[in-house]
Amino acid sequence: MRKVGSILLLLGLESVGFAVFVAFMVAEGLGAIMAVLFGVLIASLALGRTKRLSEALRNLFEEHRKLAIAWGGLFVLALPFILHDNPYAVHMLFLAGLFVALAIGLDFQVGSTNLVNFATASTYGIGAYTAALLSVSFGWSFWIVLPLSGLAGMLFGFVLGLPTMKTKTYYLSLVTMAVGLIIYLLLNNLSWTGGPNGIAGIPTPTIGGSDFADGLTVFGIELPFQANFYYLILAVVLVEYIVARRLHMSKVGLAWNAIRDDEIAASCQGIDVTGYKIMAFYTNAFFDGLVGAIYAFSVGFISPENFAFMLSVIVIAMVLVGGMGNTAGVVVGAVLLTLIPEKLQVVEAYRLWLFAIIMLVMLLARPRGLFPQLVRQYR
């Protein structure tokens, strides 16, 4: 009897959460948007303040882990169906997925290892340009170009990591900023990257003869074509999430955390500090490259403006707001910080002003992020 009760409670909680999310996605008025936001903030505060509540919830999810994941996964898969007559909302979900993928990767560096890398836009851009050049110039298929873009990003991450190792903290951030700027200027000035005009005419991917530009009809529901890209990025996010969790619960995640807390003590435990820092760079950069390729293929046109400094700052903010070192928290941070500015379009002129206030309130209320890193549990 107790077990049935706890299962119903779990399913009910998840359902309420998703109902709120869908309400937020379709909300038009400012009042509704703000109500949802403050609801999330208050929930996070309540979890942070009352240990018993957060522990009870954690136990509830741990007890029925598979069910919780299945029910939640069903909702995530169903979102394009629920929002099928709102292509813009589905596109927003795709963008949110894109930023989730960037933020989870950046957390390897910023959250786990305390390497505040400001060159996310560059690695992401390298992936996008690799994809665009290979598909436009050579006509290679998306499915070959995708992993190559990941590898190109990874190679760049490795090359970026090497000289950066000579520096620490603020100086490291400065080096990454400089590299980001160099890449941005190169993209703008090289002739083979199209200069400021970028690269146009990137073909949409195809799978088994059907084009990603055509919407699918499933169970009699006509999905907008944006749903195709949503499911694509969802698959990448899923793989990346699993990789992130595995890294976190392994000697790699422990070594990264050790380096974050005390480099000298870490090296005296046998951790190759330089090697593990570079590993944080290239594992992150691999996913940035993949995501860049997906972005290029989804919009069909890229230019240097898509890979400017501001993008790197936004992804760092997503990690900070979500909670450094907590992959699930980073997902929440990335989704919120993608959707909030878009939803705030209703207030037009005050949009950025309001966005800044929301960020400030969140960080003042939860200085370590909405969901900080949890204590590792072993069995």
Partner: protein, 249 residues
């Protein structure tokens, strides 16, 4: 070993035999901690050799020195402050886990079993010293009093299964009660990890008297003398090093 114009360690000739516990004493600035930092690869020596079981450690980096079987603690505990007690000890087993990056991503089941086995062993190590610490292994190390922090640091050093353990002033900042427990802890180390060699820097002569088989005295970056505690305590040169020039009073 020198820093700019300052020679911090000069012609130190020191031998440590397997299985013994050596006390390293000397006034502040005598070069004791510098000596540890040279041995563990934090500083590269400007001359001379550090031989460990016949290998020269001089050119090795810190993480390579650990691989040879040398572990240490620090004067002001350097724990991983944002992590739990268990994670701190588990990080000491970094080199003992064979998993590579590919194993972590692709063969996670095996990696996880290895990690869990290490976690159980880490709890066992904690249990040697304090069943309380072992039971509360998920607590943050920040919540612990000084004595327990030092204990976790010793457990972390032991986790790598070292043959040589370097303790840098383990009683620093401890109350007399905590210092008594520390001496018991070191006795436990020698009992449970038999054959381990220990070099301990200490200012508390009570601790040195009780645990050291042999005492080495440093002064101004040089080895002043060595011997048993009783011999050292009688040596006028040692007394002078600690109390300063005798004016014939």
């Amino acid at each position: 070993m020198s820093f700019g114009g300052l020679t911090a360690l000069d012609q130190v000739d020191l031998r440590v035999h397997a299985g013994e516990t050596v006390g390293l004493i000397g006034p502040n600035g005598a070069g004791k901690s510098t000596f540890f930092n040279v041995v563990t690869g934090i500083y590269a020596p400007s001359g001379g050799q550090v031989l460990f079981r016949g290998d020269d450690l001089g050119r090795l980096k810190s993480h390579q020195v650990v691989r040879r079987g040398i572990a240490r603690t620090f004067q002001n505990n350097r724990l991983f402050w944002q992590l739990s007690i268990l994670d701190n000890v588990l990080i000491g087993m970094h080199l003992r886990q064979k998993a590579t990056l590919a194993d972590v991503i692709v063969r996670y089941g095996r990696t996880r079993r290895e990690l869990n086995a290490c976690a159980r062993e880490a709890i066992e190590i904690l249990n040697h010293f304090s069943p309380d610490l072992a039971a509360q292994h998920s607590r943050s190390v920040l919540d612990l009093p000084q004595g327990d922090r030092r204990r976790v640091e010793i457990c972390r050093a032991l986790a790598s299964r070292p043959t040589l353990l370097l303790l840098d002033e383990p009683s620093a900042g401890m109350s007399p009660d905590e210092t008594d427990k520390l001496m018991e802890d070191i006795a436990i180390v020698r009992r449970k990890f038999s054959g381990i060699t220990i070099v301990v820097i200490e200012h508390d002569m009570g601790v040195i008297d009780k645990i050291a088989d042999r005492v080495v005295v440093f002064n101004f970056g040089r080895k002043l003398t060595e011997g048993t505690f009783a011999e050292i305590a009688r040596d006028p040169a040692v007394v002078e090093a600690y109390l300063g020039e005798d004016d014939g009073a």
